[in-house]
């Protein structure tokens, strides 16, 4: 199948190809985020009761995101796309610092270090793809205002080990949750826009 049958006229990936790749990437990012959280939890969080404090303390909590299937299906696709963009943008900054700060954790295993760097890179890549998708789907100008700042860097550098480890635990816990949301929402959008809700 020739890639560009009519030469350079409109020679770009189809919306379906863009969504296929976005879903593959979001699946991969969430897989890595889950594994990183589990590895960190097993190695640094056992018996410290971090889960009790990690309830609803993500920097993206202020973004109103669909919590079940009905809500996800009621939201307009442009709003859901912009929401995904907003969550991805909100993770750019923390992922940059996570990738560098995680190197300072005592005996941090290579598998955690590698994943932190890989997730940061793939998050940027997914953001690039989402901007292309929004550009294709959006009627008006892409909304740039959905974004929540992150001010968690000082807590990743605290002297007290317990507090510092909790800060990492909480960040990884939120990354696992938000990357799962993004993966779910993208799969819903792909089924809606490409497969007419018949995946």
């Amino acid at each position: 199948l020739p890639i560009c049958p009519n030469g350079s006229v409109n020679c770009q990936l189809s919306l379906e190809e863009l969504f296929d790749r976005a879903v593959k990437l979001s699946h991969y990012i969430h897989f890595l985020s889950s594994e990183m959280f589990n590895e960190f939890d097993e190695r640094y969080a056992q018996g410290r009761g971090f889960i009790t404090k990690a309830v609803n303390s993500c920097h993206t909590a202020s973004l109103t995101t669909p919590e079940d299937k009905e809500q996800a299906q009621q939201i307009h696709h442009e709003d859901l796309l912009n929401l995904i963009l907003g969550v991805l943008r909100s993770w750019n900054d923390p992922l940059v610092h996570l990738a560098s700060e995680v190197q300072r954790i005592k005996e941090a295993p290579e598998t955690i270090l590698w994943k932190a760097v890989e997730i940061e890179e793939q998050n940027k890549r997914l953001l690039e793809g989402m901007e292309k998708i929004v550009g294709r789907v959006q009627s008006g100008e892409a909304e740039n205002d959905i974004y929540t700042p992150w001010d968690g860097l000082p807590s990743l550098q605290l002297a007290d080990e317990d507090s510092r480890l909790f800060a990492f635990y909480n960040l990884l816990h939120c990354l696992r949750r938000d990357s799962h949301k993004i993966d779910n929402y993208l799969k819903v959008l792909k089924c809606r826009l490409i497969h007419d809700n018949n995946c």
């Binding site: 609803n56 919590e67 799962h180 819903v188 959008l189 809700n197 995946c199």
Partner: protein, 162 residues
Amino acid sequence: EEKINECPDYKTAGPNSCYFDKKHTSFWTIYNITVKATNEMGSNVSDPHYVDVTYIVQPDPPVNITLELKKSIKRKPYLVLTWSPPPLADVRSGWLTLEYELRLKPEEGEEWETISVGQQTQCKMFSLNPGKRYIVQIHCKPDHHGLWSEWSPEMYVEIPTD
């Protein structure tokens, strides 16, 4: 501040149980569940049990499983299996994505051979022993988190010898 809710339904799941339906559970929320026991002497509360329903979803087994024997160009028999997601699992909307694993073994054999087939709903099985009768089963799981379903009922297929 923490909102504490009493169990919405003590009956549906039988004695000493609490049943939370869809209205009482949402994804990506950590529920802190404790059980309080009271008698005339007073009461006591269990340690908290933390649950996010995202991680405990268990689907029903796949359905509509078909087995079809085919011959490759070089007359070698191979098996084509197809199946459908469990009806209650809404994969159509994309909210739930399932992955599948199948297992097979010669009827009198001991060891199952398990093959993961990702999100596909069909699979071709090669390298089957002519003249043998095989048992085949399939199960499924949400793509990231959750529990494997039960195995589907056993299905049998005999590989011809010619």
